[in-house]
C-alpha cells in the first residue's frame, strides 16, 4: 500500500483545438488537503472531472488508491464531488439528499436515517433534515453538499470552488470550518479555487495551474517565498511588480531598469543582460524610513517618496508610497513598537535588499 491516494500521470485533455489540461502530473498524499489554484478557465474543473470520471483524459493515467481507473464510470469510483453549483436535489429534503448515496448502495432505511442524523450533526446542521435545500442559507446548503459526499466515506473528496457563491464574511468562516472538518474526518480533500488566500489558508499542498499547464506544486509557504516563475509569484500573494530589461551586472546583482528607476535584483542563471524580466517585491520585505535617516544607503535599493495613503488594518497597516513618475509601491508596516504610523504627505525613504526581491525572465 502506498500513501498516495490520487495520482495523475501526464494527463492531457483536449476539447477540439483547445488543450484544456496539458501534460499534468500530480500526487496527492493520503489525508492531505490538496488545492489546485489557478485563474478562471485554466482547466481546474476539467482536471477534477478526470479524477471523478466525468471526463476521460486523451492521454495519461489516473490512479485512485493505487488502482488505475481510466474508463471506470463515476459511480464506481471511490471519490465524491462537491459541485461548483452544489447541485443539491431541489425536490428532496436535506435528509434525503444526504442519504441518497446510501440509498443507492442499498443501505436499509433505519440504518440510513441514523447515519444521516450523525452526519448532519458532524457538519453542524442538526435538526434541519426535514427542510428543502431552498429553505437553507448558502453556507448551510454548502455543508449539505459536503455531508452528502462524506457520508459515503470516500477515499477522496473533490471540491470545485465550493465557496465561490458565498459572500466574503461567510467564506472566511467556511474556510476555517472546512479545514477543521477535513482534520476531523481525515479524508483526503482535493480543493479547487481561483482565490489564492483560500488555497494558502487551508491547504497542505497547492498546485498552481495556468492555461492548462501545471506550474508548481508545493506547500503554501514554499509557493509564497519560492515561486517557480513569474506567474506563480504574481498570482500567489501580494507583490509590487516591475518590468524591464536587465542593463548590466554589478557587485553580484543584476540591474533591472524600469525607467527611470534602476533596481538591483538577485541574479539567476536564466537571467541574461539585455533580457526583459519581471521583478516582484513583497510588501513586507520593504522597509519604511524617515527621510532624515541619513544619507548612507542601508539597503541595496533605496528611494525617496511621499506617503500617499495609509490603510490601517489592526495589527498591520499598508502604506502606499508615491516614488514619483507615476509609480506607487505598497509597504506593509507591522506595528511592533510604539512608532507612530506614517501620515499622509510625509516624506519617507523606502528600501529593500536585492535578495528580498524575486526576478524572473518573461
Amino acid at each position: 500500500m502506498t500513501d498516495i491516494d490520487v495520482e495523475l500521470v501526464n494527463i492531457t485533455k483536449k476539447f477540439g483545438e483547445l488543450v484544456a489540461v496539458d501534460d499534468v502530473s500530480i500526487q496527492v498524499t493520503r489525508g492531505s488537503f490538496f488545492s489546485i489554484l489557478g485563474p478562471s478557465g485554466c482547466g481546474k474543473t476539467t482536471t477534477l472531472k478526470m479524477i471523478s470520471g466525468f471526463e476521460e483524459p486523451d492521454n495519461g493515467d489516473v490512479f485512485i488508491g493505487g488502482e488505475r481507473v481510466n474508463g471506470v464510470p463515476p459511480n464506481h469510483r471511490r471519490v465524491n464531488m462537491v459541485f461548483q453549483q452544489l447541485a443539491l436535489f431541489p425536490l428532496m429534503t436535506v435528509s434525503a439528499n444526504v442519504g441518497f448515496g446510501l440509498k443507492m448502495s442499498g443501505v436499509p432505511k433505519a440504518d440510513r436515517q441514523a447515519r444521516v442524523e450523525e452526519m448532519l450533526e458532524k457538519v453542524d446542521l442538526p435538526g434541519l433534515g426535514d427542510r428543502k435545500p431552498d429553505q437553507l442559507s448558502g453556507g448551510q446548503q454548502q455543508r449539505v453538499a459536503i455531508a452528502r459526499c462524506l457520508i459515503l466515506d470516500p477515499t477522496v473528496l473533490l471540491l470545485d470552488e465550493p465557496l465561490g457563491a458565498l459572500d466574503l464574511k461567510l467564506r472566511d468562516q467556511m474556510k476555517i470550518q472546512l479545514k477543521r472538518l477535513q482534520h476531523e474526518v481525515g479524508t483526503t480533500f482535493i480543493y479547487i479555487t481561483h482565490d489564492q488566500s483560500e488555497a494558502l489558508v487551508m491547504s497542505d499542498e497547492v498546485a498552481v495551474m495556468n492555461e492548462g499547464h501545471l506550474l508548481q506544486i508545493g506547500a503554501p509557504d514554499e509557493l509564497y517565498s519560492n515561486p517557480a516563475d513569474y506567474f506563480v509569484a504574481s498570482f500567489v500573494g501580494e507583490s509590487n511588480a516591475f518590468e524591464g530589461p536587465i542593463t548590466h551586472l554589478e557587485n553580484g546583482h543584476a540591474v533591472l531598469s524600469a525607467d527611470p528607476f534602476d533596481f538591483k535584483s538577485p541574479t539567476h542563471p536564466d537571467i541574461r543582460v539585455g533580457e526583459n524580466c519581471r521583478l516582484f517585491i513583497r510588501p513586507e520585505r520593504i522597509r519604511l524610513m524617515s527621510s532624515d535617516a541619513g544619507s548612507d544607503a542601508l539597503y541595496d535599493n533605496q528611494f525617496p517618496g511621499e506617503i500617499q495613503d495609509v490603510v490601517f488594518d489592526g495589527a498591520v497597516a499598508r502604506a502606499f508610497v508615491d516614488l514619483g513618475h507615476n509609480t506607487v509601491i505598497t509597504v506593509l508596516v507591522t506595528r511592533t513598537s510604539d512608532t507612530p504610523l506614517p501620515v499622509e504627505g510625509e516624506a519617507v525613504l523606502v528600501g529593500w535588499n536585492a535578495l528580498d526581491a524575486l526576478c524572473f525572465p518573461e
Binding site: 463515476p74 459511480n75 459541485f83 453549483q85 447541485a87 436535489f89 441518497f100 443507492m104
Partner: protein
C-alpha cells in the same frame, strides 16, 4: 390636492378606475366570455330543454327537462355509453403512447443536443404545426392509403409486398396519426422542464452511486413530473375532443363521441340532446383528470404553476 390633504381627508377621494389593469384585461375578458363561457352557458341551458325548445319562451323556463341526460343511458343498445367508453379508452392509450414517444425526444433535445443542432431539431418538430390539422391529416392519408407513398415504397421500390395494402381505417393507423398530431404538446412542456434541470444534478446522482435508471427515477423524472401531467392533460383533452382524426383515419366502427355530438347537432338537428352529450363529455373528462391528479398526489395549481 396635495398628498397631505389626501391623508387628512380620505373620504373626498373619488374611486378611480385602474385603467392600467382594466384595459389589458379587456381582450382576455372578451375572449373568455364570448368564446368560452357564453357558449357553454348556452349549451347548458339547451341541454335541460326538450327538443326544439329554447329559453326565449318564458314558460320553458320553469320546465326543467332531464330527458336529454337520461336518454343515452336508457338506449337498449347503450350506443352512447359504448362510444363514450371507447373514446376515453383510446384517448388514454393515445396519451400514454404520446408520453412514451415524447419523453426520449424531449430528453434528447434538452440534455444531449447542443447549439444549432438543437435549434434545428426544435424547428423541425414545430414546423408541421404551422399548417392546419386538416392538411396534416390529409398528408397522412396520402402516405397510408392503398395508392399512397408507403405502399409505393413497399410494393414498387422494396418489393416486400406483391399487392398494395390498405393501411388506413384501422386502430393502428388511427394511433399513428393521433400520436403524431399530439406529441408536440407533450414534448414542449417536458423539454422546457428538463432544460431547467442542470447537468450537474445528473452528474451528482451518478457521482453518488446511482445508475442510469435510479438517476432517472429519483432525479430526472420528479423534476419533469408536473410537465408530464400538464402534457397528459392537454393530450387527453384534445384526443377526447378530436373530430377530424377519428372521422378521417379511423375505421367505420371507430365512432368517437364528438362524431355522435356532431350527428345530433347536424344530422338529426337535435341541439338539445347534442348539448347534453357535450356536457357529459366535458364534465366526465374533467372528473377523470381530477381523479388522476388525486391518485398521483398532485394538484392542478401545482401543475400549472410549474409551467
Amino acid at each position: 390636492m396635495t398628498a397631505q390633504d389626501s391623508i387628512t381627508t380620505p373620504r373626498k377621494r373619488k374611486f378611480k378606475v385602474p385603467w392600467a389593469i382594466v384595459l389589458p384585461a379587456i381582450p382576455l375578458f372578451l375572449w373568455l366570455s364570448l368564446l368560452i363561457v357564453f357558449p357553454h352557458i348556452r349549451l347548458a341551458i339547451l341541454s335541460f330543454l326538450k327538443r326544439g325548445q329554447d329559453i326565449f319562451f318564458l314558460d320553458n323556463f320553469l320546465n326543467i327537462f332531464l330527458g336529454n341526460y337520461l336518454a343515452p343511458f336508457q338506449d337498449p343498445d347503450q350506443l352512447f355509453s359504448r362510444v363514450f367508453f371507447k373514446t376515453v379508452l383510446f384517448s388514454l392509450v393515445n396519451t400514454l403512447l404520446s408520453l412514451i414517444v415524447a419523453y426520449p425526444i424531449a430528453f434528447y433535445l434538452a440534455k444531449v443536443l447542443k447549439g444549432s443542432r438543437k435549434f434545428a431539431l426544435l424547428l423541425l418538430l414545430i414546423l408541421p404545426y404551422w399548417v392546419s390539422e386538416l392538411v396534416r391529416v390529409y398528408a397522412w392519408m396520402n402516405i397510408l392509403r392503398e395508392t399512397g407513398f408507403l405502399n409505393y415504397l413497399l410494393v414498387n421500390v422494396l418489393g416486400i409486398f406483391d399487392q398494395p395494402v390498405e393501411f388506413l381505417y384501422n386502430n393502428t393507423s388511427l394511433f399513428v396519426v393521433f400520436v403524431y398530431s399530439s406529441v408536440l404538446l407533450m414534448i414542449l412542456p417536458i423539454y422546457s422542464s428538463l432544460e431547467g434541470l442542470a447537468d450537474e444534478q445528473i452528474q451528482a446522482a451518478e457521482d453518488l452511486g446511482a445508475g442510469p435508471f435510479a438517476t432517472f427515477r429519483y432525479v430526472v423524472f420528479p423534476i419533469s413530473l408536473p410537465s408530464v401531467t400538464y402534457g397528459c392533460i392537454l393530450v387527453f383533452m384534445i384526443s377526447a375532443g378530436n373530430y377530424l382524426i377519428p372521422n378521417l383515419i379511423g375505421g367505420k366502427n371507430t365512432l368517437w363521441v364528438t362524431e355522435m355530438i356532431y350527428n345530433r347537432f347536424i344530422i338529426s338537428t337535435n341541439w338539445n340532446l347534442g348539448s347534453a352529450y357535450s356536457l357529459i363529455l366535458l364534465i366526465s373528462t374533467s372528473i377523470m383528470i381530477y381523479l388522476g391528479l388525486r391518485l398521483t398526489g398532485q394538484s392542478l395549481r401545482g401543475v400549472f404553476s410549474e409551467q
